[in-house]
């Protein structure tokens, strides 16, 4: 499970040590990242064929990568553009529903549903970002908070029911690998998700290093100066919101395919929070932090229960703690100790202990 992680973390730590604040400067992708990617892509051959890694773990890995894409999308918005969103679970839900409806009702090929899902999310994100432009900081957080809470109810709206099947949700089926490849559906989908993630990370990297990315960061750091330099901040902000929604929408669409099920209550407020927490823990304003964040989101979802049970029994607490308690405590402690997230924290730690010269 930690394979993709171990290759990402040191690469980031080393790269960030050279040029610290200007993450927009062009620098080559470390060969370690490419090695890690190749290793991850070969995983179904190595681990899957020998039976070392079961289909269950491939599903877990896929989910982890999916959350990484979502966290990456939120990172672009929060970390690089300085807009806070507490409601990105809404775009996750829209992406998932677009894909599920297109597969279920219009019998489209599952890969063909990804572009429409991304497009719809981009448009909705852009339109939401447009009025939200007037909102800064707290107000935007408030508006998106409201969005996150209202989403499950909105998905149950009576006139959408022919498409969404209301509270029951939509069941879809896992596709088989094409061309009679000797892979299980889980292994195949893992490769699909990995390919999507690689493309999206490269695109994000290019966006951040382009004129658009510099404009995004200029607005984040010095809104007034950015305006006087001729940056159209209204346009940049709403396009960033749209792009960010597109990423999260793609993650939602992939999640629907690998999870084979969507329902209004899978997109509760907790999902938005999980994505935000992933972004914060991984480290905002770093692209590689998104991998750590995605890992963390899936890890919490899967293992926090066991962890809390262990804590409860070791400390002999009279009540059965719930995972979210630990989640909350970790979050608050992290904000004091490593406000730049784990990736940022490791990078600054590395700068401190690095031998001089």
């Amino acid at each position: 499970m930690a394979t993709t992680m171990t290759t990402e973390t040191p690469a980031n730590g080393g790269a960030a040590a050279e040029t610290v604040p200007l993450s927009g400067l062009r620098r080559p992708v470390s060969k370690w990242i490419w090695l890690g990617v190749i290793f991850a892509a070969l995983l179904p051959l190595i681990g899957g064929q020998t039976g070392l890694i079961s289909n269950f773990y491939f599903l877990q890995l896929s989910l982890m990568i999916v959350y990484s894409i979502a966290v990456l999308g939120l990172n672009l918005l929060i970390g690089f553009n300085g807009q806070i969103s507490l409601g990105h679970g809404a775009f996750f839900a829209v992406g998932a529903y677009v894909t599920a409806i297109l597969i279920d009702r219009y019998e489209m090929h599952y890969l063909a549903t990804l572009p429409p899902a991304m497009f719809v999310c981009f448009v909705i994100g852009y339109l939401f970002g447009r009025p939200a432009l007037r909102l800064e900081g707290h107000y935007l957080a408030l508006a998106t908070f409201a969005l996150a809470i209202a989403v499950p109810q909105f998905l149950k709206y009576r006139h959408f029911e022919p498409f969404t099947h209301g509270v029951q949700g939509i069941n879809i089926f896992k596709p088989d690998p094409p061309f009679g490849m000797p892979l299980s559906p889980d292994q195949w989908l893992y490769l699909v998700v990995l390919a999507c993630a690689i493309v999206m990370f490269i695109v994000a990297r290019n966006i951040v290093q382009s004129r658009m990315g510099r404009a995004m960061m200029a607005i984040r750091d010095q809104p007034l100066a950015a305006d006087t330099m001729g940056i159209n901040s209204a346009r940049t902000k709403s396009i960033t919101f749209g792009i960010s929604a597109l990423y999260v929408g793609l993650a939602g669409a992939l999640h629907a395919i690998i999870f084979e099920f969507v329902s209004p209550d899978s997109f509760r407020f907790e999902l938005s929070i999980a994505i935000l927490v992933g972004a914060v823990i991984g480290g905002i304003a770093t692209l590689s932090g998104a991998v750590i964040g995605g890992f963390f989101v899936q890890f919490i979802e899967k293992y926090a229960d066991a962890l809390t049970k262990w804590v409860t029994s070791t400390v002999h607490l009279p009540i059965h703690l719930e995972p979210w308690t630990i989640y909350g405590i970790v979050l608050i402690v992290l904000m004091y100790t490593m406000p730049m997230g784990i990736a940022g924290g490791l990078a600054s730690l590395w700068r401190k202990i690095r031998p001089p010269g």
Binding site: L135, F145, A146, A150, I284, W324, G328, L331, M335
Partner: protein
């Protein structure tokens, strides 16, 4: 006609709750410029504490002050311990800490009292009177307690030296410090008071929505809507805004119902309450971010 009056009355009763929550939000916003996303969960937690006291056999009018005192202490502690070090932190850190608090209160309530829905007894006697077809005794009780609470707070801030000091600290911290006000403690007191106001809202609304860890999410949303409609920088406005959105919420459902009966087309109903709140929030924020009674903030560059 009677149905319309019923809807207005129950709108006012809900509005009383929204007004209390909106006031709690505004009290924290005015003094620290933070929006307390955990306000709803704190109120929920207080309602559970009150339920526990009632369950242990204490009468309601003992349990309520005890709950208020407990919430006050919790509020002060949160400000002193958790938020104090974040005074100069970036916005994101503050928002994330509030989300962390929300998660902690939510899951602790679930862990201590489980997620099963519990009935909460109404503290008000059940009696019949001339207008009992229009408004129930608990609804009247909600409005009376809420308005009484608001009046007390108004008097506290208007006529006591401590209230004056707290207003000074919120309005201009530097000048307040120069005249010898302990601004840090004033902020902590403000937090405690806000938590107390929120706890009353939680206890009053618990008999209506039943007790469970998720009970406050939608109500908090309406509290936000109320605060925004009235203007998030104006306490009086927030109270008015709370009542306005309470009535508005019921009017929308009522009109949707009328429309469905007249034309057979279902547009909007009780199932879309949260969506209505979302629309109110976004409309106010886009068209008039300062709200009806708020002051327009001018940023100096």
């Amino acid at each position: 006609m009677e149905q319309l009056l019923q809807q207005v009355a129950s709108g006012l009763a809900n509005g009383a709750i929204y007004a209390l929550l909106a006031l709690a939000l505004v009290m924290i916003f005015v003094s620290t410029n933070h929006i307390n996303f955990a306000q709803g969960e704190m109120a929920m937690f207080s309602a559970f504490v009150c339920w526990q006291l009632l369950n242990w056999g204490y009468p309601f009018w003992v349990a309520l002050p005890a709950t208020m005192l407990f919430s006050f202490i919790i509020g002060v502690l949160i400000e002193r311990i958790i938020l104090r070090p974040l005074h100069t932190a970036p916005l994101l850190s503050v928002v994330v800490v509030f989300i962390g608090l929300l998660a902690i209160f939510h899951s602790l309530a679930g862990a201590i009292w489980t997620h099963t829905v519990k009935p909460f007894p109404s503290p008000f006697p059940n009696f019949t009177f001339a207008g009992s077809g229009i408004i129930g005794p608990h609804q009247i009780g909600m409005i009376v307690v809420a308005v009484g609470m608001l009046a007390l707070l108004f008097c506290f801030f208007r006529f006591t030296p401590l209230g004056l000091a707290m207003r000074a600290a919120a309005l201009n911290a530097t000048s307040a410090r120069l005249v010898g006000i302990n601004v840090d403690w004033m902020l902590a007191l403000g937090w405690g008071l806000a938590a107390t106001v929120g706890s009353v809202a939680g206890v009053l609304v618990a008999p209506v929505v039943y007790l469970e860890p998720n009970m406050m999410a939608g109500i908090l949303l309406y509290g936000f809507a109320g605060a925004l409609v009235g203007g998030i920088s104006s306490p009086g406005g927030a109270v008015a805004g709370g009542f306005i959105v309470g009535v508005l919420e019921n009017m929308v459902a009522y009109l949707g119902n009328m429309l469905e009966r007249a034309t057979g087309f279902y547009l909007i109903g009780n199932g879309e309450k949260l969506t209505v709140a979302l629309i109110i929030v976004i409309t106010v924020l886009t068209l008039k971010p300062s709200g009806l009674f708020g002051r327009v903030t001018v940023k100096r560059v």
